[in-house]
Symmetry: D2
Subunit: 163 residues, 4 copies
Amino acid sequence: MAKGKPPYVAVCGSGEATEQEEAWAEEVGRLIAEAGAVLVCGGLGGVMDAAAKGCEAAGGVSIGILPGEGRGAANPHLTVSIPTGLGEARNALVVRAADAVIAIGGEFGTLSEIALGLKLGKPVVGLHTWELAKGGTPVDAIVRVTTPEEAVRAALEATTVEN
Amino acid sequence: MAKGKPPYVAVCGSGEATEQEEAWAEEVGRLIAEAGAVLVCGGLGGVMDAAAKGCEAAGGVSIGILPGEGRGAANPHLTVSIPTGLGEARNALVVRAADAVIAIGGEFGTLSEIALGLKLGKPVVGLHTWELAKGGTPVDAIVRVTTPEEAVRAALEATTVEN
Amino acid sequence: MAKGKPPYVAVCGSGEATEQEEAWAEEVGRLIAEAGAVLVCGGLGGVMDAAAKGCEAAGGVSIGILPGEGRGAANPHLTVSIPTGLGEARNALVVRAADAVIAIGGEFGTLSEIALGLKLGKPVVGLHTWELAKGGTPVDAIVRVTTPEEAVRAALEATTVEN
Amino acid sequence: MAKGKPPYVAVCGSGEATEQEEAWAEEVGRLIAEAGAVLVCGGLGGVMDAAAKGCEAAGGVSIGILPGEGRGAANPHLTVSIPTGLGEARNALVVRAADAVIAIGGEFGTLSEIALGLKLGKPVVGLHTWELAKGGTPVDAIVRVTTPEEAVRAALEATTVEN
């Protein structure tokens, strides 16, 4: 990886994802690596595994921030993995470590990462992910995209790297 | 407080709430205390302050789990306050400490608590709070209620106290 | 509990303590309650159980900050218990929640709480606990006492309540 | 970095270290990299900076697990840095992420990492670091060494990589 101060981009999604979601995640991981950014994820399977796989294939650096106490649950494509032992509280660390967040599909864990990202003021980009509303009115806090290319471009454009 | 093993109910909402939300929260806090349950909240202002105030007025026990490193930010109505120094990662602890979660209105922090509650399999009751959807289809994971009485009743009925 | 802003005192020690340590802990818990202070501990057995028992007997308020995900492991004498799901990282929270720390005997977990207390600038009082040295020279950062009465007096005198 | 499953070794020490400690840390970092292991540290200055510098010079991979909310405080030699926002509670994560811990000199933060490492059952190697005793009797839980070479050899020999 070229030294300097690369942006960090989190990729969030379900540990049991659809084939389509995994294909998007792999492409997102590849594009993050090609842009010279660092990939952050929750370190497990599904979208996290696919994103790390795409990143690895393009020679990029990826970090898995795991909920459990050991590295045994880490997917095999990560450059490094950090077993936090914090359980779901680790979702806050995934988001905190990132300059921008890309959510792909996802279940309640992903929703918590979207919410924490927005709470922390991080750009959150969504690819077929959760839709939010209050009192029947949509809340458009997530940058909606429809392709992996748009997702990575939007994440990197929105990122002011804090270094 | 009567000994035994009371349920713990988290009340989540914005630190800068509307008058209506604060009125609901105060009533929810009072009803939690009257039911002999323990109130858990994030310890700050707005909905958290109002819920603790209602709990205090009814002679109940409340716990504030604070994001910062000191008790100085705690609202004055709490029985005890725990400064975690974890920042927004403390939202996971608010939810984990509870047997059921009541969300009143709320912003992105509340959304993260709803999501973490659902992820952890806790009953989540919503009073004029976030609405969730995927692909245009509502996701009805939150028990919707319209009054404080219904909120507390739904939370307590759904609770299997783990003790 | 009388309102106002009581100091919080952590009592740290082994989950499998000697009879002597448990007797000291129970007396420390009683004295903390009689002083109107709040007892904080790790919520489990041994010294933690005995301290909470003494606190309860004197009508005091105690908080157990648990490492696991449920309240099931909490000792039965606590006023409230908080299951953090953070594992040993919860030791930092026990210390952070307190204005002063009393260590009674103890193993490596207690040593970590002593160290974190000193790192955070909290007064740390030791009753037959760890002795520290560097290069053969004792490091006298712990206030050494020999009785529960001295321990609680030293902890409360050293405390500047941050409220 | 050669793929496979390298051991992770934490290097702990003061953020304001002596020249001698920094020289040891740099050599320890270099030897960890040459052994194909991953260096974990707290990400700040002093011993942490020197260890990461040595690791970088030998082409190794290093991870900084930071206490604050941003990467700005990270030393410039790290491969990746993770701002946890957990304050001193991050010390538990530094130790948890490692298969073995090397302590070089150090103050109370380092002592907490030694204690947490021992609590978690990790091998802890000490180079001119804290000495522990109870009741006047030394507690020999730390593997004592006198050179960086011995430190890294002892850490790697004691490591059963959990992967």
